[in-house]
Symmetry: C2
Subunit: 316 residues, 2 copies
């Protein structure tokens, strides 16, 4: 494969093409991924999430510049499954990010493919693996959205940064449950605005319940990303967290559980394809649907009858 050779030589076009294979699930993408996988595993993955308008892109932008100044190779994945409505904002962010794309050490990919729902979290991880195999040392994954897919994406990262703005105050109580579980570092951006102190205090109170002596501190940082304030501290907290999770074997455990999830997803995906291609066409679904429409059958009973005919056995 010529493209793999060029990829291994550091050809950005080859990287871009392989990412497209993975995104589009082109014919042999699993074989390509199988070849790249052993080269991956060195990059550190940092996820960024938070409500729209919190300044996630600006933070990722400034952090990338800082990492590049420290001679690190950076990959950025911007995930936006919440389009169509936020499409405008996304485009704006991408344009703003273009000053980064001119840098050799930085590779940016945005993923807003509507069709890939359900697999978006998986695809994002696979794209991260490709960038990792390419030699990126930091992979920054930014999710514009706020739903389950995005939480799955950042949950697959080694360190997760949740970003708020003073205006997010009201929503903090409501979102306690979901986000607190995945966040390692909290950032209150636009900290020069009114209400910034209040939101830090609120977060602090909530986090105190979670903090335990000798465990991770769950820091809350104040930043003004636009003015590059607080970005140095953010990077050092990310590094501290990295050290903490490696020393405490959390890193290894998390990666291992991610791998197991990956294998499960691969198996499920392939079996679903098999059902769609081999089982369903042999059934007269039209006829069944007609009967259901006439009230003579229902999808649940029909499903059970079909399932009763399918045998799955494990000969391993």
């Amino acid at each position: 494969m010529d493209i793999l050779k060029r990829f291994n030589q550091g050809d950005r076009m080859a990287l871009s093409k392989i990412i497209s294979y993975v995104e589009n699930q082109s014919l042999d993408y699993r074989k390509v991924l199988a070849k790249l996988y052993p080269k991956a595993g060195k990059a550190y993955r940092v996820g960024f999430t938070g409500p729209p308008g919190a300044g996630k892109s600006t933070i990722v932008d400034k952090l990338t510049s800082l990492l590049v100044r420290k001679e690190h190779k950076v990959g950025i994945i911007a995930v936006d499954p919440t389009s169509p409505f936020t499409g405008g904002a996304l485009l704006g962010d991408r344009i703003r990010m273009q000053n980064l794309t001119n840098q050799k050490e930085v590779f940016i990919r945005s993923m807003a493919t509507r069709g890939s729902y359900g697999g978006l979290a998986t695809t994002t991880k696979e794209v991260a693996t490709v960038m990792d195999a390419f030699g990126k040392e930091f992979i920054l994954i930014e999710t514009v959205g706020v739903g389950q897919v995005e939480l799955d994406v950042v949950d697959a990262c080694d360190t997760t940064v949740v970003i708020f703005v003073p205006e997010s105050g009201d929503s903090i109580q409501a979102m306690k449950a979901g986000l607190m579980e995945i966040a390692d570092i909290f950032v209150v951006n636009k900290a020069d605005r009114e209400g910034a102190k209040r939101i830090v205090t609120e977060l602090d109170m909530i986090l105190d319940i979670r903090r335990k002596k000798g465990e991770w501190e769950y820091p809350i940082l104040s930043t003004e990303a636009v003015n590059n304030k607080g970005i140095d501290l953010l990077l050092s907290k990310i590094s501290e967290h990295k050290e903490f999770i490696i020393d405490n074997h959390i890193f290894e455990k998390h990666r291992k559980s991610q791998i197991k999830t990956d294998i499960k997803k691969i198996i499920e995906h392939r079996i679903r394809d098999f059902i769609d291609e081999k089982i369903l066409p042999s059934l007269n679904l039209d006829h069944i649907a007609d009967k259901i429409l006439r009230g003579e059958d229902d999808p649940y009973s029909a499903g059970e009858r079909i399932l009763a005919q399918i045998n799955i056995t494990n000969s391993g």
Copy 2:
């Protein structure tokens, strides 16, 4: 089953309980659904979507009051998979809606369960089926969010209303592709605000490409839901669309394709459960993951080896 008896007698508590079974996928929920399915199929499903703050709840609220005045039985499903961040707003909406819950003819259920992602669109349809079987004539499905799950939800409706506000102007170009496909009726709410005319003109230009003589007109309505302005017209456009799709056999085709999707989902769901319960535990995933972590294997090759051992046959 005592609960089914009470459900058939019109007991709201029984309705509420059966919806909970479906949401939580409690043991026998498929059997219950199979029993209810033949009673369903009479309700008309209207989906409402649009960006946050567009006034979806207010429109659903006012439309419900109008339907009740016309002696219709109404079910409302409010879907919000975008929590945690929008959790606050959702609660506010629900509280505002409480004046409706006191009415015997109206049944409201909000669904914000984080865990049900992937199945949320399916669960919403199943809850709609339950309300349908209970005798609701209109089921109004409101999605607060803006992602793929929400689009799937409203796509399963008979008529889909997309709601904008004058402030949404900038995003219209960006979201052309996704929403135009699913929307039947466009509403510009808060039409007294600046920019309302511009957004109507913009929508009109985009829709003109889609409109064809003798086909559905894709109307754009201006409303001020808070002041109950435009709600009558919205209802009559929904009724017109209902007539149009029934007369043109679109209704039947759409329902049939939904049924086929339902059967596929039921089969996939059950097979996934089977893999999780019967296949995966017999594999030494821990051992495989360790090898992958050491760089001696990769998840894709491991997945392929496992799949090679699994036999699926269709004896039907």
